[in-house]
Amino acid sequence: MKILVLLSQVPDTTARIAFTNDNTQFDASGVTFIVNPYDEWFALVRALELKEAAGAGSVTTITVGGVETEPTIRKGLAIGADEAVRVDVQPTEALQVAEQVAAYAKDKGFDLILAGKETIDYNGGQVGAMVAELLDLPYIALASKLDLSRNDAGGTTATVERDVPGGVEVMEVNLPFALSAAKGMAEQRIPNMRGIMAARTKPLTVIPAVATDNVATTKSFELPPPKGAVKMIPAEDAGKLIEMLHTEAKVI
């Protein structure tokens, strides 16, 4: 079982969101960066569980980013990935990232490629699907459960669940394929001391980027206008809330 996990680095969920350079750049001053939670908690941990269950195989992580992403890459190794790859280029846009990942993965014979549901900064939910298209693989978005079993043809079939409006969809697909991992897929693992020590000596390979065409550019950012003051309603008159939502806010 050879598994590739896409790991991205994002600002911490509680980071203050601000921009500099005339609102063209994210203001990273004082911001802590973490492994994107979907990538770490769900994609990576499920990959490790599947490898452990199979008793063989490897989990490789890939990150498209500069040298500043190495601490988060080491965290992935500390949690249990066997090796890590960093494509040495600043990510500018989803297709550019996907092309880097696809260029690396194309002749490596991965059985599974796991991305996170979305990056919590750019919220695209798109890189995994793009990688799948570039590698001509099936892809399931927003998977909340992934189980593997042997099939009659001697290959491996995955049973994948995902939440859809009003229920859960259960799907089957033969390996190799790609997916994006959402909540439910696995439980977060906290790296232990042994893992952290081992991570220091695990291979982190840096590879050069392939050339890509630029198809889209984020020009600038904007912060939403500040909220007006909250209107407080005394608890005794709680029913007035319904009235106000109807006559004043006109939303019910």
Partner: protein, 312 residues
């Protein structure tokens, strides 16, 4: 310069998000557009009201198989000479739209929230804590519209419905089962959402939450710990790690308003918060607030909602 729109119409009713996407595509095109869809859904001709002149449907595709659907959409796009392909930023769209973009080497706007200015599209980033302006420079553009971003056009037209006859290859993904988790309005489509958190103390206290939602014609939601403790089903969990919603009205009861919770609901038009702690962070994000005990306040809200319903 032509525009097509890809939508998921598999349900019994035409989804709101599909009608929004057709509206958006037709506004972008400045005229009628071709819609592409799949499965056995009915009433497709009524998409004419939102500006579709033609609906091309691949009846034999039933699963969200990204490879079949990408072939379908790019095939129609080539025939129509489409330079803009509109999709929806939902589960189906997230499976297909980025694939289309990768195949056509096109820029993808993942989650447009407004009409563009030229080739520059506004979208949410940082879980709605900011917006970004993305300029697409490729000859072909793929634009996935965020649900609940624009009003649905209500015109007169009727679209012609054509069955797609091309070969899409064999499906590589099969749907084994769809487990329905209750009836009611799907959360991402609900215009009114009544949501509750750990302040409700236990699953046995959700009766009034459900009753209020039902009286207001809304859906129920919950915070993450509530889903984690299995008080409520997982698909009701909203926030950073759950569903992101943008209803007209979000009523939060016994939820503290942690930043990760707000990330999934801060796009709601109006937010009302009920919490016994006046210092609860949620009040800072709220339009209306009541400080008090949910167990005393809920009966009052239910009574007022019944009164309102009796009057209208």
């Amino acid at each position: 310069m032509s525009t097509i729109v890809f939508i998921d119409t598999r349900g019994e009713k035409l989804p709101k998000a599909a009608q929004e996407a057709v509206t958006y595509a037709s506004k972008l095109a400045g005229g009628p557009v071709t819609a592409v869809t799949f499965g056995t859904g009915s009433n497709l001709e009524t998409l004419g009201a939102q500006g579709a002149s033609k609906v091309i449907v691949a009846r034999n595709v039933t699963a969200v198989d990204g490879q079949q659907l990408t072939k379908l959409v790019t095939d129609v796009a080539a025939k129509e000479g489409a330079t803009t392909i509109v999709c929806v930023q939902d589960g189906t769209g997230k499976t297909v739209a980025p694939r289309i973009a990768a195949k056509l080497k096109a820029g993808h706007v993942a989650g447009a929230i407004a009409m563009p200015e030229g080739n520059t599209f506004k979208r949410n980033v940082f879980s709605g804590k900011a917006q970004a302006f993305l300029e697409v420079t490729s000859p072909v553009k793929v634009v996935s519209l965020m649900p609940n971003s624009i009003p649905i056009a209500k015109g007169e037209g009727t679209a012609t419905v054509e069955e797609y006859s091309g070969d899409l290859g064999a499906a590589r993904i099969t749907v084994k089962e769809v487990r329905k988790a209750g009836v009611g309005i799907p959360l991402p489509e609900a215009e009114i959402v009544v949501s509750a958190g750990r302040g409700m103390k236990g699953p046995e206290h959700w009766g009034p939450i459900e009753e209020l939602a039902q009286l207001l014609g809304g859906a129920t939601a919950c915070s993450r710990p509530v889903a984690d403790m299995h008080w409520r089903p997982h698909h009701e969990h909203v926030g950073q790690t759950g569903v992101a919603i943008r209803p007209n009205c979000y009523i939060a009861i016994g939820i503290s308003g942690a930043i990760q919770h707000l990330a999934g609901v801060n796009q709601s038009k109006v937010i009302a918060v009920i919490n016994k702690d006046p210092e609860a962070p949620f009040f800072k994000a709220a339009d209306y607030g009541i400080v008090g005990d949910a167990f005393e306040i809920l009966p009052k809200l239910i009574e007022a909602a019944k009164k309102l319903n009796a009057e209208r």
